[in-house]
Amino acid sequence: MVAYIVRRLLLLPLILFGISLIVFGMIQSLGSDRLLAAYVNPGLLDKLTPNQLEKIKEKYGLKDPMVVRYVKWLKNTLSGDLGWSVVGKEPVKDAILNRLPWTVELALYAIVPVVFVGVWLGMIAAVNRDKFIDHFVRIFAVVGWSFPDFVFGLLVLMVFYSVLGWFPPGNLSFWADTVVKSPEFKRFTSLVTLDALFNGRFDVFVDAMQHLIAPILTLSWLWWAYLLRITRSSMLEVLTKEYIRTARAKGLAENVVINKHARKNAMIPVITVGGGMVIQLFAGTVIVEMVFNRTGMGSFTATAATQLDYASIMASTLFYSLILVIGNLVIDILYAAVDPRIRFS
C-alpha cells in the first residue's frame, strides 16, 4: 500500500513536467513578438522602433535558447511569479488566490449531492432492474447526459431568476458583498458561507447560499446522470457474480447481499471512473460560472481566453491540471482502499 502510493507520487512530477512542456510549447508557438505583450504595455509596443523591440526582447531573455528559457520560466513559475494578468489587472498569482475560494466553495458543495444522489439512484435502478423505477432512472440518465450544462444553466436561470426571482446570478448581493468586504467581517476560511456562520452573520450565509444553489444544481445535473449510469451497470455486473450466489447460499438476507457483498465490489469501478468525473466537475465550473455571472477561477479562465491574456491562461491550465493530477492520486488511493487486490500487488 505504501509502496503503491510512493510509486504514484513519483509519477506525479513526471506528469506535471509533461504538462509544463505542453504549456511552454504553446507559449513559444506564439512567437517572440506576441510574447512581448506579457512584459510591455501593448499600447506602447506600436510606438517602439524595431531596434528598441530587439533590445527589449534581449532584456527579457526572449532571444535565449529554448532550454535556457524553459528553465527560467519554470523557475519563475515555481517561485510563484506567474506574470501580470491583463484580465485581473493584478499579478496572476493574486488574481488566482482572490478567485479560487469562490470556485472551491461551488465545487465542494456540488460534489456531495453528485456523489450521494448519483450512486444512490444507480443502486436503486440496478436492484430494481427492468422495473418502472429502473426505466425512469435510465431515461433521466440518458436525457440528463445529453443536456449541455450551459443549456440547463440557462433554463435554470430563466425559471429560478427571471420567473421566480429566487436565485439571482452573481456571487453575492450588493449589500452582502459590502458586509463581507468590511473590516468587521473576519475571514477564517476564505469560504464565504463558512465565514458568515463563524461571524454570526446568518443573513450573509443565506444570501451566499441563494447565489450558490442554481450553479450547484447545474453542475450536479450532468454528473448525476453519468455517475448513476456507471453505478447501475457496475452493480448489475456484480450481481451476476458467483460470490453473490455464495452469499445467498449462506442464507444472508437480500438486503445484506446487496448492501454489503455487492455494493463494496460495485463501488470499485465507480470510484475510478466516477472519481475522474468528479474532477472534471471542477473544470465544469468554467461554463457554470460564466452562465451565472459568478466571479471565480472558471470565469477568470474563460475571460482570459477570450481576451488572449496568455499569462493568466497558462497559470489556469497549470492549476487545473494540478487539481486533476492530485485528484487522480486521491482516487487511486481510495481505489486501493476498497480493492484488496490492488493494495497488495
Binding site: 447526459w145 445529453s146 430563466m158 427571471s162 473544470a283 491562461i313
Partner: protein, 292 residues
C-alpha cells in the same frame, strides 16, 4: 454472418430507444441536407445568419420568423443551418481523432517496449488537462474560430481510442492462436492485424458514436463562451450566447426571452440525445460486455 447481421438489426429495431435515436438522426440529416431549401441563403456565406433588423432587442416568434429574432438575427435560420455546423464539427472531429488514436494506439501496442512507455506517458499527460479547459486554451492560442475549435478538440480527443486499441492488441498478442501462428513463422504484424481488427472495430465505432454527443456539447460551449464560431455564424452555441446576455439583464420579466433559449437548446439536446441513444443501442447489441 448475414443471418447474424439480420438478428442484430432485428434486436436494434426491437429496442424503442434505439428506434428513437435513429429516427432523430435521420430527421437531423434531412434538415442538414435540406437546409438550402428550408432557409435559402441570402449572402455569399450561407452559414452567416442574415440580419433581418437593426433593432437589437429580441423579437418573439412571428409568422415571418417562426423562432423569433435575437440580436437582429433570425433564430429559425440559425437553428436550421446550425444542424449542418453540428454535423460538421461532430463528424470531422470524431473521425480525425479516432484515426489519430488508432495510429498511436497500434504503434504503442505493436512495438511495445520503450516506445509504448513513452506514448502511454504522453497519453497520460494529455489526459491530465481537463477536456473543456484544454479546448479553451488551445483555441485561444490558435486564434479562435470554428476551425480552431475543431483542431483543439482533435488534439485532445484521441486518447481514449489509443488506449482501447493498445489494450486490445496487447490482449490479442497473448492469445493462443496468435502465439501458434507466430510459432509457425507467420509475420506477426499480419496476425495481429487479422485478429485485432474484427475484435476492435465495433468497440471503436461504439466509442466514437458515444463521443460525438459530448464533442458537440464542448464545441457549442466554446461558441457559447465566445471562443468558437464568429458572431452571427449559424451555430447553436452562439445563439445561446446571445440569449445569455439578454437573460442576465431580465430579472422579473417572466419568460420574456424563452424562445432564444428553448429553440436552439432543444435542437442541441435532441441532437446529442440522438447520438447517445444510438451509441447505447449499438453497444447493447454488438458488445454486450459493456452493457449498462
Amino acid at each position: 454472418m448475414r443471418t447474424e447481421t439480420k438478428r442484430m438489426i432485428k434486436r436494434l429495431l426491437r429496442n424503442p430507444s434505439a428506434v428513437l435515436g435513429f429516427s432523430l438522426l435521420i430527421f437531423f440529416t434531412v434538415i442538414a441536407i435540406g437546409a438550402p431549401l428550408i432557409c435559402p441563403p441570402q449572402s455569399y456565406d450561407p452559414y452567416m445568419i442574415p440580419i433581418v433588423t437593426w433593432d437589437k432587442t429580441p423579437q418573439p416568434p412571428s409568422t415571418e420568423h417562426p423562432f423569433g429574432v435575437i440580436d437582429g438575427r433570425d433564430i429559425f435560420y440559425g437553428v436550421i443551418w446550425g444542424t449542418r455546423t453540428a454535423f460538421k464539427v461532430g463528424l470531422i472531429v470524431t473521425l480525425t481523432s479516432t484515426i489519430i488514436g488508432l495510429l498511436i494506439g497500434s504503434v504503442a501496442g505493436y512495438f511495445g517496449g520503450w516506445l509504448d512507455e513513452i506514448l502511454m506517458r504522453i497519453t497520460d499527460v494529455f489526459l491530465s488537462i481537463p477536456y473543456i479547459l484544454a479546448a479553451i486554451v488551445v483555441t485561444a492560442f490558435l486564434g479562435m474560430g470554428l476551425n480552431k475549435v475543431m483542431i483543439s478538440l482533435i488534439m485532445f480527443g484521441w486518447m481514449a481510442t489509443a488506449r482501447l486499441i493498445r489494450g486490445n492488441i496487447l490482449q490479442v498478442r497473448e492469445e493462443q492462436y496468435v502465439l501458434a501462428a507466430r510459432a509457425l513463422g507467420v509475420n506477426d504484424y499480419l496476425v495481429i492485424l487479422k485478429h485485432v481488427l474484427p475484435n476492435t472495430i465495433f468497440p471503436v465505432v461504439i466509442q466514437a458514436t458515444m463521443r460525438i454527443g459530448s464533442l458537440v456539447i464542448t464545441a457549442a460551449a466554446l461558441s457559447f463562451l465566445g471562443l468558437g464560431a464568429p458572431v452571427g455564424y449559424a451555430d447553436w452555441g452562439s445563439l445561446l450566447n446571445f440569449a445569455r446576455n439578454w437573460l442576465l439583464g431580465a430579472s422579473g420579466e417572466a419568460f420574456k426571452y424563452w424562445y432564444a433559449i428553448v429553440y436552439p437548446g432543444v435542437a442541441m439536446v435532441l441532437f446529442v440525445l440522438a447520438w447517445n441513444l444510438v451509441g447505447d443501442a449499438l453497444r447493447d447489441v454488438f458488445d454486450p460486455r459493456l452493457r449498462g
